[in-house]
């Protein structure tokens, strides 16, 4: 069966160049990067090369990069590593669960947490953050781009608020990295999380930028890896892959970014909306990363839509991959003010570097008829149609 993949916010395929870069580190280049001997020196060099590539992508110094097992660990390390009992944290209602549940854990151990709301486009109002500041506020954590809607938050403005208040600002840039240019100094953040597998590196590797001079308590106890910020032998092949993917992403962004991807995304979105009534883009009107379109198709069950499309060869999702099989509608879409039934009727399409125009044609040929079939067989829709 012909299959297309439009779920790149869940994960992306490893690019062939990335895989090639990693290959030696599964075989002949096997040393422990902490070892003194030749083998260790070889892998140490590879890890440090990767660190420089990641630093170049983020506009920071290599020494400010801490490699982790992924975005979740990077978020947890930033939050649990900077906040303790008695401290106050401000975050937003649309954060990834890696941030929200890390904050909830902090609350359980005696920290205070304020969760600011978002508007109908899922944007945080910086004024809300300013109002939420307290004398004991230690950290603001607001994501750069939302994983479900792709909407970009006003992080530079938030960075200024944090700087004025003299507190630490962490941003989860997992869904922004590689899609839009990132510069930690322009953002004014003290910590920033990225994940390898969202930028065509493998799963199981990520990084946290930590501004020089920012105090960080490690999550793990063990060896003095990563300047004592993250104990544990380095995942050398993964780190090498992340480094290569970061380098490729930086080159692509340097060539003017992904206009082609944005054009394909817009064609998909407009094509769907032209053919399907009672549908709309979640987060419409706000700046978004170029690869994401989250669309609500009223009166359908998103779960059934994802299955029906998968059986026809189109891979999409209802939202965060981790929420599959969960009953709660997306907390992001609900926070934006969607009704629970609209949130459940929302589908996320997310493009990747491997996406081609034919993929969009294929999706445009199948999505409208699938929505029509679902609606035709939906008791809710038939009822709604009768009343209209």
């Amino acid at each position: 069966m012909h299959r297309i993949y439009l779920d790149n916010n869940a994960t992306t395929p490893v690019l062939p160049e990335v895989f090639e870069a990693m290959r030696p580190y599964f075989g002949e280049q096997f040393g422990n990067a902490s070892s003194i001997h030749h083998h260790g020196q070889q892998t140490r060099a590879a890890v440090e090369d990767a660190r420089e590539s990641v630093a170049a992508l983020l506009g920071c110094r290599a020494s400010e990069i801490v490699f982790t097992s992924g975005g979740t660990e990077a978020d947890n390390l930033a939050i649990a590593g900077m906040v303790g009992a008695g401290d106050h944290v401000i975050t937003s209602s649309i954060e990834h669960h890696a941030v929200l549940l890390a904050c909830k854990h902090l609350e359980e151990i005696g920290a205070e947490v304020t969760v600011v709301p978002v508007d109908g486009r899922s944007l945080v109002d910086p004024a809300d953050l300013r109002r939420a500041l307290r004398p004991n506020t230690k950290l603001i954590s607001v994501m750069m781009a939302n994983n479900e809607t792709g909407v970009l938050q006003p992080v530079a403005e938030i960075g200024r608020i944090a700087a004025e208040a003299g507190i630490v600002f962490h941003t989860d840039a997992v869904q922004a990295a590689g899609k839009v240019a990132i510069n930690v100094n322009q953002i004014g953040c003290h910590a920033l999380s990225i994940s390898g597998h969202k930028i065509h590196a493998p799963q199981g590797v990520g990084a946290l930028y930590v501004r020089k001079g920012t105090r960080l308590q490690p999550l793990f106890y063990g060896g003095r890896h990563e300047r004592s910020r993250r104990a544990g032998t380095e995942n050398v092949p993964g780190i090498v892959g992340l480094g290569k993917a970061a380098q490729l992403a930086k080159e692509a962004l340097g060539r003017g970014g992904d206009n082609k991807m944005a054009a394909m995304r817009d064609r998909l979105q407009q094509g769907i909306l032209a053919q399907v009534e009672e549908a709309g883009v979640n987060g419409d009107g706000a700046a978004r990363v170029p690869n994401t379109a989250n669309i609500h198709f009223d009166h359908i069950d998103g779960e059934a839509m994802v299955i029906a499309l998968d059986l026809k060869g189109v891979a999409v999702s209802t939202g965060a991959a981790c929420s599959s099989g969960a009953i709660e509608p997306s907390h992001v879409l609900v926070a934006m003010g969607l009704r629970a039934d609209q949130a459940r009727a929302s589908i996320r399409f997310s493009l990747g570097k491997q996406t081609v125009a034919e993929d969009i044609d294929f999706a445009l040929a199948l999505v409208p008829e699938t929505v029509a079939r679902l609606r035709e067989l939906s008791p809710v829709y038939r009822k709604a149609a009768l009343h209209s």
Partner: protein, 360 residues
């Protein structure tokens, strides 16, 4: 696919027969939700909808090479099965959640999802048979070859439309044969024990479940305490709430008398539990409401049938006749023990399920 041996074997059979099979598991209840609350058991292993069962179902799907999905219908299950289950108990009736689940979830929601994703039919691991009768022009529900596993009692609510889209591949097999076939297909769960209790009530203590659920909801258990009354109308004591009783129950009445006493009737209206000697448990008639007829489109004249009044009850000969718009009167040849409001009465003509209704 519940993650049990029956539905897993069905999937393997159909796949081996060359059908285009899609595996679906309905996530209906979060087993961890009330675990450890109000005296509920902490660990609930091997229950339907537990993570272990979803894991088992997924592994079978992977092994036999079919696409597999979990569809979440927890909200609907809570509304159409859990809530009515509790309401029935506090109204003095003894509910059957499995029938509600079949009517509102498995053969309603699941069938809709199946159609939406392009499936022609739904196959389940129920022990029952479905066949189209050319003469009557109707889909029939029939008892299975393995009468000890007969599940037609829980399926009486199926409509013609639902039956036309349903297949029960285990209808001609015995349970040992199913396990043998599971072994033949190399399914690791061939020896997995059968599930017995109500899936959302681990340990079978429904009173604890009701307590834990209402506490979670911030709702108080309605006060249904009242008098224990004999069949002669004498008040002989008090009881703590009618939901603690089931018709025919002997133990736990909290009164000491000479001869054994049984719950004869529960009166939701005046919160009375009426007790008496065993002989009072027998009755020749019952009335059913919310009737679904399968083998016939309408009951125009009285009909001889055998009627089953609880899951473990041998169908007893009776006459059934329509006595109202939504009422069928059943008159047994011999008095039956403990006819229980809230349970179903299912009418059989030999192996054929004529229909059924809820005992009122």
């Amino acid at each position: 696919m519940s993650g049990g041996v029956d539905s897993s074997t069905v999937a393997a059979m159909l796949r081996a027969a060359g059908h285009n099979v899609i595996g679906l598991t309905m996530q209906l209840w979060n087993q961890r939700r009330l675990a450890g609350k109000e005296g509920m058991p902490e660990s609930v292993q091997g229950r339907c909808c537990s993570l272990d069962d979803v894991y088992d179902a997924r592994r079978v799907a992977q092994q036999i090479g079919i696409p597999y999905y979990v569809v979440n219908h927890e909200e609907r299950f809570e509304r159409d099965v859990i809530r009515p289950f509790i309401e029935e108990y506090v109204s003095g009736r003894t509910p059957i959640p499995c029938s509600l689940c079949n009517n509102h979830l498995k053969f309603d929601q699941l069938l809709i999802v199946a159609q939406q994703i392009g499936a022609e039919r739904v196959a389940t691991g129920h022990y029952a048979r479905v066949a189209f009768d050319e003469v009557r022009g109707r889909w029939l529900l029939k008892r299975p070859a393995d009468q000890s596993k007969d599940q037609t009692y829980f399926l009486f609510g199926l409509t013609q439309e639902q039956l036309s889209r349903t297949i029960f591949p285990l209808g001609d097999m015995t349970k040992p044969e199913v396990r043998e076939l599971a072994r033949h297909h190399g399914l690791a769960l061939a020896e997995k024990p059968d599930s017995q209790e109500i899936c959302f009530v681990p340990g079978g203590d429904y009173k604890r479940f009701i307590d834990a659920y209402l506490t979670e909801q911030g709702e108080a258990l309605p006060d249904t305490a009242g008098d224990l009354v004999t069949t002669n109308g004498d008040v002989i004591g008090e009881h703590g709430g009618i939901h603690n009783f089931t018709v025919g129950q002997r133990k736990g009445l909290g009164v000491a008398t000479g001869s054994p006493l049984y719950v004869i009737q529960i009166s939701g209206a005046n919160k009375q539990v009426i007790v008496g000697g065993e002989e009072h448990l027998y009755s020749r008639t019952l009335r059913t409401r919310r009737v679904n007829l399968i083998a016939v489109d309408e009951l125009r004249e009285p009909m001889r049938v055998a009627v089953k009044i609880r899951h473990r009850h041998e169908p007893a000969p009776a006459m059934m006749e329509r006595t109202g718009n939504d009422e069928i009167l059943v008159t047994f040849d011999e008095p039956q023990r403990a006819i229980t409001p809230g349970q179903a009465a299912v009418f059989y003509d030999g192996d054929v399920v004529v229909g059924g209704g809820w005992i009122s």
